[in-house]
Symmetry: C2
Amino acid sequence: MSEFRWDPLKGTWVITENQRLRQPREFIIERQRTSITVCPFCPGQEGKTPREVYALRPGDTQPNEPGWQVRVVPNKFPVLRIEGELNQRSSGLYHSLQGVGAHEVIIETTDHQRSLAQLEVLEISAVLQAYRARLLDLRQDRRFRYLQIFKNHGVEAGAPLPHSHSQLMAVPITPPVIRSELNACLAHYRTTGNCLICDLLAKEIADGQRVVFNDGRFLVLAPYASCFPFELRLFPLQHNHDFALQSDQELIDCARALQEMLRRLFRLLEDPPYNFILHTAPPVPVETTKPGYWQTLASDYHWHIELVPRLSQIAGFEWGSGFFINPLPPEDAARFLRATDPELAL
Amino acid sequence: MSEFRWDPLKGTWVITENQRLRQPREFIIERQRTSITVCPFCPGQEGKTPREVYALRPGDTQPNEPGWQVRVVPNKFPVLRIEGELNQRSSGLYHSLQGVGAHEVIIETTDHQRSLAQLEVLEISAVLQAYRARLLDLRQDRRFRYLQIFKNHGVEAGAPLPHSHSQLMAVPITPPVIRSELNACLAHYRTTGNCLICDLLAKEIADGQRVVFNDGRFLVLAPYASCFPFELRLFPLQHNHDFALQSDQELIDCARALQEMLRRLFRLLEDPPYNFILHTAPPVPVETTKPGYWQTLASDYHWHIELVPRLSQIAGFEWGSGFFINPLPPEDAARFLRATDPELAL
């Protein structure tokens, strides 16, 4: 079983996989691209994945059969496994925790050829509904401190399978990236009474030079301190700490903004590889009046989606310092993207 | 001029380059490999680099002429520039600092074909002497809070030029990675009176399963919470916080351990791309009895070299969470490397 290990010098956690012995040669081969013959995410291949945990089936079709529009299955090669207890262990300066969690795959479309940018708004909103459904289901498990939804698009971004999909990892430790954001939001709330992100959005709208898209409901901007060229963040303008509490209509509005963001990138940068990550408040085990799922903490947080195109490499300086070097000011990135027509010639 | 920008949500700093307007097409092209016709680091091409700031010249030869063994020049395309004041600026929630610093290239050998792993111990120690000389020189500039020495080897690790070289960046902010380590060492010293890294090394030597190499002077190990397969750290066993205070003999001993580490990786993983980073105590502006250079702070720190092979990609989960997933336990990596003969068939 894999485990979480804590580094006493860096104060960070790492997931160490040790489910089978791997040979050095496998790591040499990882530099090559992998190829598969039959796509396990295509309709008709449902038997090649573990049994589905969610599916949007517009017609009256059976689970694990064709007829789905969006399908969620456990990852066949999960980094974290759902069974087991956390079993924290310490040995002097070292600590570890069993690699308990969940690792699911959200198959976004039946069409092997179309990427998320190429889907229609209602199709994208069906993907967001699947995210919401899985968040609401998995937050009932008290072992999970955070539910991380992310998408790797393109081989350079870590997606060896081309069929469009995103992933969900439930983890037993709040991720440090989320913890830092929660702390910053809490500190700002304590000194001002305001949501930090609401204040940032007001400042960005007034300034305007980093805004890519704003339809009054959702806003896409190139962050002031972008780490990478064309890095983008998508925010709801209406304050909400928890993605899972968004209504169907809000998910459609979000899908429209996400489609705008992805299509502008697709056209400007010729379908670049990218990662996006949903940042939302972590669940806490306090049952609400609405039975069946847990309330979340941190109502001073503000959910959003972060997108990082993978156009350049992280090298020794970034790894050793924690400073990133961004060769393109976000004001230029936003200007280029504003001038790009989001209509795809499909 | 480039600038440092602070992210109020993440609490991180980014270097934003804005020295010239770049076009989106340049970022598409970055996915291709670049090629050059004449190597500016080869002997006879000294005029293609800025004028040297250090050179080891065994014979009686002139600066910026052939005859050098190791040569240090300012980077022709520096991320940070040596001229100017810091000029901290704030605008509400955003802060920035001018991109003042230094960016130098250490050309490790005259031979275009040989990598650092292929050099002899005395040749590697000449490279380490160049590191020491540049640290001692640049720490006289009170604007610099840290001097980061690092090496990118191979295209996948961010080295577009194949001629073996490392780099030095002087930065006006202590890097967050170093700050975390200093804080961990200080906290451990306060509660135990000991150096955290000395205590970790004693534990690792007693355990033994993660040790790759130990000649009684320097030790190479696979860290307990390795982020990547075959990640390694090299430590002096004699406590020393400051690389620049190492003697000539200590640099030779260090070169021997570094050569062992690099050659075992070279043989086991067929010359993998890698980054290594020197971690050493930051300089502080307190003049010592030894004139001409500054004492460093943090004598409870312990300098070391961290090496990260670039065999896998960082994807959405790592970027979004701050957790890394390592598919190879460090105990296995150390065992494979111990069993590898460091003698190269050159």
